[in-house]
Symmetry: C2
Subunit: 424 residues, 2 copies
């Protein structure tokens, strides 16, 4: 009985095989994502993993269906496992935005799905940090969102030597397009050519541009100049004030594929460009209106950061911590006559917040001690044979051992935690 192709199992470390996915690394990543988003004042939300198919076709047209994990449910509804979070979020915000002061700053960590027939071996699900802001047009909020993106990557140990945010704008390309006589109805086709310009051959790009009335050299020169628009200059200056100037550069090669972007857009890449984009996002000021059928009109912006590329990068850079069992205290039960008192002591330790392991069955003390070492417990404790209120407490790192009344042992443990604490 195998799992479906393109889906992942997440195992606790040490991993059973070299290519297994680590549940511990995922917990670590999600924890950093959450912690950093909260420092930026973002609130967490979630929506259904299954949505009406129409939520996606309304925005992206019928051609999107070929990439969706969609089906007809038992109630004869056309449904799809969510390929992205933004339409769900736009629906939720459109329905209840009046309840929240602006700007609305929200994040989520959804699992997303796709089904492409042709690509064997490719994943059909991944997790993505989504951070979005609604109700603010000032570029200062674009800068706030990009600062969050940068700090999320810094929080997992990456530096400006490891990654860069390439900043661009649909508005800059819009102006380029209009200034050269492009008609509004060809703008999106033009954007699509720009979006592929790094991946397609020169000849192909030149041909497509020419068909739309543009010259490749002209486009190249515009990208080469990398002249920030006022809006982008304002974002850069804001990020520089935060000390984050080294993490971002103007790069008009970036324009983003999705139809709904309207203003500044950006993508984060590893500096060596060995991987696909780590994250991408931008403004989408018209989407809430579209999703709500015109009932709600709110400017919006956001980004998505997947777990797969980021995890590959962290592994390559060696920035993942060593994961252990999480067990802090091992309670050794010297013989079965002490089991009852030991269980009471274990309960006290856990109640005080400690992660405690012990042998649930009779076992030789040296075997138990070995297990404590395998679990990398920082402390080993056991009930005193003559007095159940006395416990022996051994700090594994120093090999120091003391016999203490239970209450004092708890204080001793607590003091060690306060001392070690790295929280601000």
């Amino acid at each position: 009985m195998e799992r479906l192709p393109g889906f992942r199992d997440f195992y606790p470390e040490p991993l059973p095989t070299k290519d297994a996915w680590s549940a511990d690394a995922r917990i670590h990543l999600f924890d950093r994502w959450r912690t950093t988003a909260r420092r930026y004042g973002f609130r967490e939300y979630d929506g259904p993993p299954l949505e009406p198919l129409e939520l996606y076709t309304a925005k992206s047209g019928e051609e999107i269906v070929g990439q969706l994990y969609n089906f007809t449910d038992k109630g004869d509804r056309s449904v799809a496992m969510r390929p992205e979070m933004t339409p769900t979020l736009a629906r939720m915000v459109a329905a209840h935005q009046r309840n929240y002061p602006k700007p609305i700053k929200w994040f989520s960590i959804p699992q997303l799905f796709r089904y492409e027939r042709q690509q064997k071996g490719r994943l059909r699900e991944h997790f993505q940090l989504n951070a979005d802001v609604f109700g603010e047009t000032d570029p200062g909020i674009d800068a706030e969102l990009i600062a969050l993106l940068i700090d999320v990557l810094r929080s997992v140990g990456l530096t400006s030597d490891d990654f860069v945010v390439r900043l661009s704008s649909r508005n800059a390309w819009q102006e380029f397009h209009a200034a050269r006589g492009g008609k509004p109805e060809t703008a999106y086709a033009f954007f699509q050519v720009i979006d592929k310009i790094e991946r397609e051959s020169e000849d192909e790009s030149a041909k497509k541009l020419s068909a739309l009335g543009f010259a490749l050299d002209d486009v190249r020169a515009f990208i080469q100049a990398a002249e920030p628009t006022n809006e982008l200059a304002s974002i850069l200056s804001n990020l520089t004030s935060r000390g984050l100037g080294d993490y971002v550069k103007i790069d008009y090669n970036v324009i983003r594929g999705l139809a709904y972007y309207t203003g500044p857009v950006f993508e984060a890449f590893d500096r060596k460009y060995n991987f696909r984009a780590i994250a991408g996002g931008g403004r989408y000021d018209n989407l809430v209106k579209l999703i709500s059928g015109g009932k709600t009109d709110l400017p919006a912006l956001g980004f998505g950061m997947g777990d797969v590329v980021l995890m590959e990068l962290l592994r390559e850079c060696g920035r993942l911590p060593a994961f252990t069992s999480g067990v802090e205290v091992y309670c050794l039960i010297e013989d079965e006559s002490l089991r009852g008192a030991s269980l009471g002591w274990i309960q006290q330790l856990r109640h005080a917040g400690w992660a405690v392991e012990y042998s649930a069955v009779a076992s030789k003390p040296d075997k138990q001690f070995k297990r404590a070492m395998d679990l990398k417990a920082a402390w080993v404790t056991q009930i005193h044979r003559e007095d159940a209120n006395l416990v022996r407490l051994r700090e594994v790192s120093t090999k120091l051992e003391q016999n203490l009344p239970r209450a004092e042992a708890l204080s001793r443990l607590k003091a060690s935690r306060t001392h070690d604490s790295s929280t601000p």
Copy 2:
């Protein structure tokens, strides 16, 4: 554009409508689930939300399909959105159990799905804490699992006045069945009658029992006596040693519906029996063998606890905390000439671990201060007009205000956090 029937959106508080689901309450619940499971030495894992249909029919037969959210995918595979986690877990453990010392103690918080045509308005998804143990037959480990269940409920503020774990055993009923001449092949049909005995009419139960060769009075007397078997007495004594005796009682009305249970089984209920079961579980010593096609044979036990009933109970008992924005420090920007320095100060605060909010656009100071109060920020800070290294720091609760160099302000904040800290 509406969401699908039976699915939930989770909004940040304050909630937009009375019946909206709270993302904050969900985060709170998951956090307590995780924290408590880790204290018991359980490690987190996860598997795919979509599995081959066969994973469920192999164990429960074709009749289960009527309740599943199943469909045929684009690759012509019969698949189902997972209705429970145990088969996925059994598959994962069977594949790689050799990698992990026993007992394997794992937990997960999957979203689970079902599709029942007939019940309108009923939820089609929920989240469930799943905690399972593999590789140990001693009742001491059953007690460890039940202790975890009890402490998980205690961790969200429930007491022995609020809930009770009803403890029973398939073995006790197996013996009852065999002692009265029941043949092995009728045992499961007999268990099914017991499972429904509290919900069905006396006549109905009596008729069904009689058809299998049993008398309702005999069954009733057995339940009434509530005489613990040796195995259950051992579990009770273990829990009593932990000080958890008040949370559990023998109740042979409980037998659990699923076919795969083999030994002790249990369900947690609110004391007033106003709700469905809060949690349920037990031993399933044969499932790993079944799922692995006989390749791996491991004793196992586990429980599941859903978010929906528990949340209803917590709301009724008033045990949910008041949720706020999470913003700790609000940075006031007195005028736009101070924005650059303020952004630098905000970055320092966030880097030091503080959740900071500010106005991304020019805004009157009194409006900003009102926003800080709405967010329930504990601190308000601003850059000094004459010296960007000086900041004003106001503690909202005491209204005390100080002008301090940035580094000292950070120390002052840190001292307040260490002082407030309730971690052990």
